[in-house]
Amino acid sequence: MDGSVFDAALEGLALVFSWPYILYPVAGTLLAMVFSASPGLNSSSLMALAIPVTYAWDPLAVMLLFGAFVGGATFMGSVTAILFNIPGKAQNAVTQLDGFPLTVRGEARTAIGCSAASSALGSTFGIFLLIALIPVMRHAAVALGPAEYLMLAVWGLSMLAALTGDSVLKGLIAAGLGLALAMIGHDPRTAEPRFTLGFHYLHDGLSLVPVFLGLFALAEVIHLAAEGRKTLSGRAREEDLGGSAMEGIRSVFQHFGLFLRSSVIGTVIGAIPGIGSSVAGFVAYGHASQSARDRSQFGRGDIRGVLAPEAANDAKDGGALVPTLALGIPGGTGTAVLLGALTLHGLAPGREMLTDNLVLVFVLIWSLFLSNWITSLLGLALVNPMARLSTIRTTRLLPVILVLAVMGAMQYRGLVADAVCAVLFGIFGYAMKRSGWPRIPLVIALALAPTFESNLHLTMRLHELGRIDFWARPVVLALAVLTLANLFLSPFLRRLRAMRQRREKQLR
């Protein structure tokens, strides 16, 4: 990092913590937290609402406020995912896969502690990587293209093998169903509607949030009601709850390698414009499961299933700023609105901004950084009262969760049809759970398939026209090797390890 970048970083940091400017990120974070913790609301709407209010503000205040909006929105959505199986944002959906089972085990405090720590550290990782990339940001922003996006999706899909649960066949059928459901909607190339059955609702395909809320939140409500469980955690008093926030924080350091790898996954995927915000979490989750020696607890309350997606989700925010700042191309919906706000204030992201307005760039980055830490620290401070919710009687809590889940599905896009979709998938999810069919491969396939399909077409066409050489791209080759390792090497090593353990047992 050269001197000018370092000086700008320090000047930006000083401005963020100066009075009265510090009020902007703090207020922005609190607002974003309220919005993102409310199922169905999202920070993009908050930002869109804030744009006209900030027309007359100076660019510094705008950077501070919008940086906080981007950063403050991510973590709180995971709290509702952990406690009630209802993600505040689509990207928090994957956290509920192991977060909620931890709540059911009475370890909500551990899950929230882990989520808060991995969020704060993940965002710090993403932001420092972003700062390190500033001198070569343009190059980094254009280094990956459709071929790399395609292989990233293939790599993600190859992890499904590790998430099939007890029956590989059932897992693969569930994944196949997820891929088939992802085909619903407009063909990305020909624009022809596919499998829409004449419903306008299906023109854009199935939205991940109502499917997720149905398959997991509503299915779980039905399950808990049918089971006659007294409280979510099975404990009636707070003192009986297991785990602690500290245990959750410690788990991040116990699995530090996984944390780092998940943060890298989050940052890289965040830097890819147009890929859904939930993909980073899903790929990180798949990786956590794939790389685990013992993966029997994934989906049943493995803390690594909380750590990996949370680290990736927050690291993603730093990555998403790479194309936004380097080229003026947003990495996601949040950064799209941020970009709109910057443009309205005469700030044109790109080379000019990275040279003439570098201090403002750092103000944005530090505001994002600060807001991520504020949300995590507030989350940690509120662990006990939040965990206490898991001791409330289900007869009182389940109706609330039911209403929140249905409303969350409806509010996500303002469509009643999304609530109907959630209910249908709720019934389907309960049937899957009852009959021992894994639901995770279905949703991961559903989440990754659009990236796979659209980039498969583009890559094939560009290769056919000689505009790219698929096999001469180092990232493509690296991802191909990782995919092959997932498919062949991991099962081989696993079998070898099992054989060794059996032999050791026999010798004993």
Partner: protein
């Protein structure tokens, strides 16, 4: 750094000016007073359609004494949003902003559910035309349209488009015919951002985009503007602008006319065809309601919207938000759509050939 002190002056000035708008309006819309109006935006928050809608929102609320709730419906490239307006009850409580050119393009597909902008809506006015420009990436080696045409003489140009039902796909084959150049389409680049990245990465030679969607990248020198496919609203670009002296496809002395000898068209017919293309892809952003809005209500809404958009307060707010306004009243906007639709019929064979290329 010299940061201006926080000043709410402009904000409050705008609010004050908003309050003065209804005084001039004559028509009353009593049906809507105290009601909530869904304003459907067929695009994501933060995009151009969203920005125009949020700019209109406080003015409409004030003028109609109603609450206007913005609803973003970006699904299926905006088609779902347009369908939601078309299928809503014609009581004035569901209105929105649609892309007339995009709907014209989508109407070429077999899908029968695509709304027809000429018949499926009550047009309340046009807020702006689309200004479409051909771009290349800065590393492609093209400085002018002549460089592009020189390369096109040797090999087909690789062009990024969205999908088979998009404005970008619709415009390219017509433009190529008028410029006598061969092309290969790469479809699947959804959104101008994806096409911009494809240009910057050098995956394609050229792409066409709305001028306002890529202003940042043009200012930053990442994209090189090469040719105006539609006439610029309000005349020429200022000198010093990256678009100043940018050649035009249509009009007198436009590139289509100059290339007529190569295409085998009469110069007059080539110019006419380029102007037809302008009519199709420039049709613009329409403020609409469902078809069969009661005549009185429709007249009232048209009058109110016209008063708002032509007011000084709105002009100032739009200028502050850097949004260009090129208002046309309902009749003029409808006439342009019909013109675009008729022109589209003449190009059907050419466009369908391109659609087939994408589907292969």
């Amino acid at each position: 750094m010299n940061y201006a002190r926080h000043s709410f002056l402009y904000y409050w000035l705008t609010v004050l000016l908003v309050l003065t708008v209804p005084a001039s309006a004559e028509a009353e819309c009593p049906e809507l007073a105290g009601q909530t109006i869904r304003w459907i935006v067929p695009n994501r928050p933060g995009g151009g359609y969203d920005a125009y809608s949020r700019l209109l929102q406080p003015f409409l609320e004030q003028s109609l004494d109603a609450r206007v709730r913005i609803e973003n419906r970006p699904e299926a490239g905006g088609l779902v949003g347009a369908m939601a307006i078309r299928d809503a009850k014609a009581d004035g409580r569901t209105l929105g902003l649609v892309n007339a050119s995009g709907l014209l393009a989508a109407s070429l597909l077999e899908s029968s559910s695509t709304p027809d902008p000429a018949v499926d809506f009550t047009v309340l006015g046009r807020i702006t035309r689309n200004h479409v420009v051909m771009f290349s990436g800065r590393d492609a080696g093209f400085s002018t349209i002549d460089d592009v045409l020189a390369v096109a003489a040797d090999r087909p140009l690789v062009v990024a488009v969205r999908d088979a039902g998009s404005v970008s796909l619709m415009a390219v084959p017509i433009m190529a015919e008028l410029l006598a150049m061969d092309y290969e389409l790469v479809s699947g680049y959804v959104g101008s951002n994806a096409r911009t990245l494809a240009l910057i990465r050098g995956e394609v030679d050229i792409a066409i985009s709305h001028f306002d969607s890529v202003q940042g990248q043009v200012r930053a020198g990442e994209l090189v503007p090469l040719l105006q496919l539609t006439a610029m609203a309000g005349g020429e670009f200022q000198s010093g602008s990256p678009y100043a002296n940018l050649p035009e496809l249509g009009g007198a002395g436009g590139l289509a006319e100059r290339r007529a000898a190569l295409t085998g068209l009469e110069p007059v017919r080539a110019r006419q065809a380029a102007d037809d293309l302008d009519a199709i892809i420039g049709a613009g952003r329409l403020m609409v309601g469902p078809r069969r809005l009661p005549a009185e209500l429709s007249a009232c809404l048209q009058s109110r919207i016209g008063d708002i958009v032509l007011s000084e307060a709105f002009e100032q707010a739009a200028e502050q938000a850097r949004l260009g306004i090129d208002y046309a009243d309902s009749a003029a906007a409808e006439a342009e759509i019909l013109k675009g639709r008729r022109a589209l019929e003449r190009f059907q064979t050419t466009i369908r050939a391109a659609i087939e290329q994408v589907r292969r």
